[in-house]
Amino acid sequence: MKNFGVMKGLLKKGVLVSIVSLQLVGCQTFKDKVVYAPAGDVMQMLAKEHTVPYMLGTEDVAVSCAMSEALSPLLMAFGRVTTAPEQLGVMLGLSAGACEEQRAWEHELRYMRALREQRPDEAEDSLISQKRHLVGAAKRQYGAYQNLVSYYGEPGGEECPDLDAEFDQFIWIAGMLSGLQALNNEIQSTSGIGVPKNIASKVERGASCLDDNQWWGVPMAMKAAVWSMLPGAEPKGEDAWQRLETAQAKGEEARVRLPNVLYAMAAYTNGKNDLVKDIIRRHADQVKKHPANPEFALIDKTATIQLLALSDRLWTENTGHRTPVGGLGTFWDDKRESNVEVLELDDLL
C-alpha cells in the first residue's frame, strides 16, 4: 500500500512533467521525441538484429524486393525524428533497386524478341520501357550508395572506416555493390541521372577494407571486375581473369556464389560469351550439388537470379525465348549426349 502511494506520487509528477513539457516544446515535438523516436529506434534495432538476418536466411528474392519497396518509406521516415537509418537505407535501396532491374529485364527480352521478329515499333517501345526501369533502378541503388557514404564516408579514401562488426562489413559490401550497379544501370539507360562516374574506381579501392576470405571472394571479385572494365585500371603484374577465377572458387567453397555474377558481368562486357556460358554452367551445377549457406541463402539465390537474367538474354538473342524451365546451365547449341544404345530399325521398316 505504501508502494502504491509512492507510485501514485510518481505518476502525478510524471503527468505534471508531461504537461509542462507539452507546453514548453509543443505537441508535435513531444510526439516526435517521446513517441516516434523510441519507436524508430526499436524498429531500427529490430531490423538490424532480426529482420535483416531473417531475410538473408530466406530464398524468396521477390518477397525481399517487395518488402523493401513497401517498407522503405516507413523505415526511412524515422530519420525525421531520430538517427537516420542509413545502414538500413543501404539494404533497402539495393533490394528495391533489384525490383526495378527485374522489370527492366522483362522489357529487354521483349525488345530482343521484337528485333528478331522485325517489329521496330515494338522494339523501340520496349527499349524505352527498359530504360525507364533502369533509371528507376539506378536512382534507388545510388540512393543506397549515398546512405553508405553518409554513414561510413566515401569508399576509396586514404583510410578505411571502422568496420569491426560483421554487420558493418556486410553493409559496406552491399553499399559498394549498389554503387557499381547504379553506375552500370545508368550507363545502360543512356540517361544522365547524376551517378558519379568515379564510383568504379572508388569501389575498387574500398574493397581492400574487407577480408576477401571472410566475404566469399566478393571483395577481390569487385576489384578484378573493375580492372577488366575500366581502361588502365589493372595494376601492373595483376591478372583480372585469374583473380576472378579464384574468387569464383572462394564463393563456391563458402556456398555464397556471388563472385560468379561479377565474373560473368566482366566476361560479358568484354565479349567473352563462351566464358559467360561456362560460368553459368558451373554455377548451375554447383547450386544443384551444394545447397546455399543457410545464413546467406538470399545472396546465393540473388546470384542465381542475376545469372538467370544473363542466360535469358543469351537464350532470347539466339532462340527467341528465355532459358527453359529448369534449364539454367544449358544452352541452345549444347550437343545432346546420350549413353543409351539405339536399336537398328531397318528390319521393322
Binding site: A200, G232, N270
Partner: protein
Amino acid sequence: MKLLKSKLKALTVAAAVSASAVSGVAQADMMKRSFCVWDPVGANGPLFNVMKSAKPSALKWGIDLELKAYTDEKIAAEDFKAGQCDSVLLTGTRVREFNKFTGSLEAIGAIPSEEEMKMVLQTLNQPKAASLMKSGNYEVAGILPAGAIYLYTRDRTIDTVEKLQGKKVATLDYDKASMTMVRHVGASVVGASTANFAGKFNNGSVDIAYAPAVAYTPLELYKGLGENGGVFDFKLAQMNFQILIQSDRFPEGYGQKVRDYTADRYGEAYKIVETAEAEIKETYWVRPKPADLEGYTSMLREVRIALRDEGVYDAKALRLMRKVRCKKNPSNAECAEKRE
C-alpha cells in the same frame, strides 16, 4: 452454310498464305549488317549502349544491325578496313585514314567553341554535304560531338606555351598532328594510348596530358592534378565520334538517314559534355591571360597550315572551319588573309 464455311476456309488459307508471304518478303528484304563499336568500357559501356539504341530505327530502314563491342580502337579500325565490319564507330582522328575531310574536324584549334562546332555539324548534316561524307567506298554516316579537349597539367604554374618546353606530354602516338604539336612547343612526346594515358598522368610519369572533360571523373584525372595541378581553359580541339559505313553494303540513302538520326542526338551528347565539364573543380581551371590568347590562336593556325601542307589535314575541312570562325567573328585577321 456449307458454302459459307468453305469460303471462310478459303479466306483463312489465303490470309495465312499472304501473311506468310508478306513476312517472307520482310525477312528477305532485311539486310543483316555488322556494326563494330569502339567503347573503352566494352559491351556495358556508354558508347555501345547509345549505339544499341539505334537498332529499332535501322530495322525500319531495312537493316538488321549486329553490334560488336571493341575495347581497342585500333583493332576496330583494322577490322573495318579488312571488311570484317560493315560499319564502325571511331574517334574523329582515327577516321582520318578513311575520310580526310571529316577526320580533320578534330584539327588543333580549328573550332574554338561549342557554338562553332554546332554550326559545323549542322552544315555537314545537309543532304548537300553528302559528297564530303564519301571517300571511295567509305561514307561517314554520322558525327557525334564529344566535347573540347583540354590540357591537364600537374603543375598549374605552367600557364603559358613557353613553359611547356621540356615537359613530358602523354601523346597519342598514332596521331601525327598531336606529335607535331607537342614537338612544336618544345615539349617531349611520351607515347600513350586511350587506355594508359590517365595512369601515366596520375602516377607522375608525364607532366601533362590532354583529354576531353568526359574522361576527367571516370579516369580520376583529379588524382594527377592533386593540390598543384590545373586544367588550362583553352579548347585545343573538338573531339568527336564518327560512324563509318562501307557504302556498297548498305542501301542508297542509308548514310543520310543515319546522319539525321545522329543529328537528333546532338542535344543528349552536349548534355553529357556539359555535366562532365561542370565536374571539374572550379579551382583547377587556369584561365589564360587575354593578351596571350591571340598568340596561341595564331600559333595553332600555323601548325594547322603546316600539317595541311604535309598532307595530314584536309584543306577543304580547314576552309570550312575558318569560314565558320569568321561567321562568328568576321573582324578576325584570318578572315581577310584566307590562308586556310
